[in-house]
């Protein structure tokens, strides 16, 4: 018997979730720029509202262009479905708000993007949701932090700023022993480099603004459900396993064995919080996803060349990249990230903050801004920008030195990038 072959990653990047338009023949995904969708008749309307038929009602809840992006990212991740959101932050909030409420508790890696840290540290406590931050490399710390009211464990595939590699299988096992899911921010890796569901994660989200879109033109997020977590068996999530008065008394787990989380997230979270993605953004991000495998390969290839260059420079004190033997997660990275550890990393310049400023200001190809994951190479010097108010001691606590430079490596000719960095290093020496 010849085993059939499933469509591979590169093919899914181009085709999953979309067929040529049956009416017009359009090959590309059309942008359905419409707020709402007509009902065939009153019965059709009622059936759509009551989830008796699949279809679209209002673009805050779902939209055909967004649905293509959602299906495509779900296919690439190996999940059961996804929800496109206004931003990566909206995706994180949607995940938390769907399964946690006042009195809930989260255990999170402390190596987080600043925006996520703010949400968990300062904003969610105002709504009664507390977070304990732990060293992502310390399994005992994850276990110790779990309380009876813990509803979620959370970490980034590659943490900020030191690229701590999350041991997904180990943290997922701890989460599952406590009957709670593991949520992973996979923005830096994308499914091309790592599929968290394969290692035990239950929910994954992306800031699609970064590598998924890849062109730096659209803000967006995508929240994907792996369909693996048994909410009923856990017994800790009445939001998904008991009738919900806010949606026709629906018991979401009864409706779908594998997609209960997504049903509630869409029918409550998108409906009530409203952080939906514009179909224009979905279209733009889809254009990026089509070339994701090609771009990620080149991002990583360029990154490796630049790290090799920086490693030979006397002005460079250290480089934090998990492919380097000096990185504390080098062995784990070899196992989890054989295709590469992404294209965002930091290095430390010898010298003070002024040296860092001179380095940045001398660059001509790298763009000085607060983003990552663009096709163009990006750079930022935290000590003189995002963290400029902090003392050197406070910076050190956050894992940032006065000369720390964060790079996001783009798709330019690598020799041009090396020349640019060399120019910056000369300037840094003064």
């Amino acid at each position: 018997m010849a085993a059939p072959r499933s469509l591979q990653f590169d093919t899914l990047s181009l085709h999953a979730g979309q067929r040529p338009d049956p009416v017009t023949g359009a090959r590309a995904t059309p942008i359905y720029f419409t707020t709402s969708f007509v009902f065939r008749d009153a019965d059709h309307a009622a059936a759509l509202f009551n989830m008796e038929r699949g279809g679209h009602v209002y673009s805050r809840i779902s939209n055909p262009t967004n649905a293509v992006l959602e299906e495509r990212v779900a296919a690439l991740e190996g999940g059961v479905g996804a929800i496109a959101t206004a931003s990566g932050q909206a995706a994180l909030h949607l995940a938390v708000a769907t399964i946690a409420g006042a009195g809930s508790h989260i255990v999170s890696s402390r190596a987080l993007y600043g925006g996520s840290h703010n949400l968990l540290s300062y904003t969610l406590p105002r709504f009664g949701i507390e977070t304990t931050f732990v060293d992502p490399r310390d399994p005992a710390a994850w276990k110790k932090a779990i309380r009876p009211n813990t509803r979620l464990l959370f970490g980034e595939t590659l943490g900020n700023p030191g690229l701590d590699v999350l041991d997904i299988a180990s943290v997922a096992a701890i989460a599952h022993a406590a009957k709670v899911p593991l949520l992973v921010d996979a923005t830096f890796t994308t499914p091309y480099l790592l599929k968290p569901f394969d290692h035990g994660a239950d929910l994954v989200y992306h800031s699609a603004t970064k590598f998924l879109g890849g062109h730096g033109v659209a803000i967006g997020g995508v929240l994907v459900d792996g369909g693996t977590f048994d909410w009923e068996a856990s017994g800790k999530f009445p939001e998904l396993t008991e009738p919900y008065a806010g949606f026709h008394g629906m018991d979401f787990q009864e409706e779908s064995t594998v997609a209960a989380f997504l049903l509630r997230a869409r029918r409550e979270g998108l409906r009530d919080f409203g952080a939906c993605m514009s179909p224009a953004s979905a279209f733009q991000i889809l254009q990026g996803v089509e070339t994701l495998p090609l771009r990620m390969e080149r991002h990583v290839e360029n990154t490796r060349k630049l790290i090799a260059f920086l490693g030979t420079e006397a002005a460079v004190e250290s480089i934090a990249y998990p492919e380097l033997p000096s990185h504390p997660d080098h062995e784990l990275a070899k196992k989890l990230l054989p295709r590469g550890c992404g294209a965002v990393f930091s290095f430390n310049l010898k010298g003070d903050r002024a040296a860092g400023r001179r380095f940045i200001e001398a660059l001509a190809v790298f763009s000085h801004l607060a983003n990552v994951g663009d096709a163009k190479s990006l750079v930022i010097h935290p000590a003189s920008t995002t963290h400029f108010r902090m003392s050197d001691a406070a910076l050190a606590e956050a894992g940032i030195g006065p000369g720390t430079i964060r790079l996001s490596i783009g798709l330019e000719d690598p020799e041009d990038l090396i020349e640019d960095l060399a120019r910056g290093l000369r300037a840094a020496r003064g």
Binding site: L7, M51, E52, R53, G227, T257
Partner: protein
């Protein structure tokens, strides 16, 4: 809702409504290594439009207790026991794939209990190649992968089941993975071992709908049509560009065909 059937807990999804035995009843029977949720849209619609709906988890599947039943004949007997437990004299039986054979067997052997029978993604014989049958026993993951590929016609579905943004192929695979070990082999062995399809088809007295997928690689449309010809009062509806997972790929078309069939005089 939970019933007690053949000394085991039997889970039945009633479409979000309390079961009213006075309404015309429809029993939905899922296919191999699946559960009630494959019918979520169609069953929920009917429950809100004048029908008493029972979308079952067969024994050993989903939330139902017991071990998976070893034969299509056993499944047919179990459906009768379910009707007894639910205090229903008769029901329309809607089955998919393995469930379609169970519905056929039940309608033929118990004509007084089946008012109509709808067979989706059906074929007879429903033979399973020896290699695949062997894989369902000792290489479940490989077998699921093959079955899932053969069950879908494309990598895009508009709108997906149970709703927009659903990756139908991933959802179906995960649903299979969520069933208990051994269920896959038991179900496929039951399909492979069913020998009396044509005889039973000739005994069906109630109206029968055959709802087939033109691109079904698991239960080829031609084999479904062959079976339909053996049923005295049958109608065949073929959904263009649909694969084996008809309810997932073409949820609206499936519902519309069922409605027309169930509402016909």
């Amino acid at each position: 809702m939970e019933l007690r059937v053949a000394n085991n807990a039997a889970y039945v999804y009633t479409g979000g409504k309390t079961l009213d035995a006075k309404l015309p009843a429809v029993v939905f029977i899922h296919g191999g290594e699946q559960d009630h949720c494959v019918w979520v849209l169609q069953s929920r619609y009917l429950a809100h439009h004048g029908y008493a709906v029972l979308a079952v988890d067969l024994p050993g599947h989903g939330r139902s207790g017991g071990a998976p039943l070893a034969s299509i004949e056993d499944m047919a007997g179990w459906i009768v026991a379910l009707l007894d437990a639910a205090k229903l004299d008769a029901a329309s039986l809607v089955g998919h794939s393995m469930g379609s054979l169970a519905a056929l067997e039940c309608a033929a052997r118990h004509p007084e209990r089946a008012s109509r029978v709808a067979l989706l993604g059906t074929a007879f014989p429903m033979r399973v190649s020896p290699d695949l049958l062997q894989a369902t026993r000792n290489r479940e993951s490989d077998a699921r992968g093959m079955i899932n590929i053969w069950s879908h016609s494309a990598c895009a579905h508009y709108p997906g089941n149970p709703g927009p943004g659903s990756w139908v192929i991933g959802g179906n695979l995960r649903l299979m993975q969520r069933q208990k070990p051994g269920v896959l082999h038991a179900d496929f062995a039951a399909c492979d071992g069913y020998k009396t399809g044509f005889e039973r088809a000739a005994q069906v007295k109630c109206p029968a709908l055959f709802l087939l997928g033109a691109r079904d690689a698991m239960a080829p449309e031609r084999a479904g049509r062959d079976l339909a010809r053996a049923v005295p009062n049958s109608t065949v509806v073929t959904l263009a560009s649909a694969g084996h997972n008809l309810m997932g790929e073409k949820p609206d078309e499936v519902l519309d065909a069922l409605l027309e069939f169930l509402r016909a005089p």
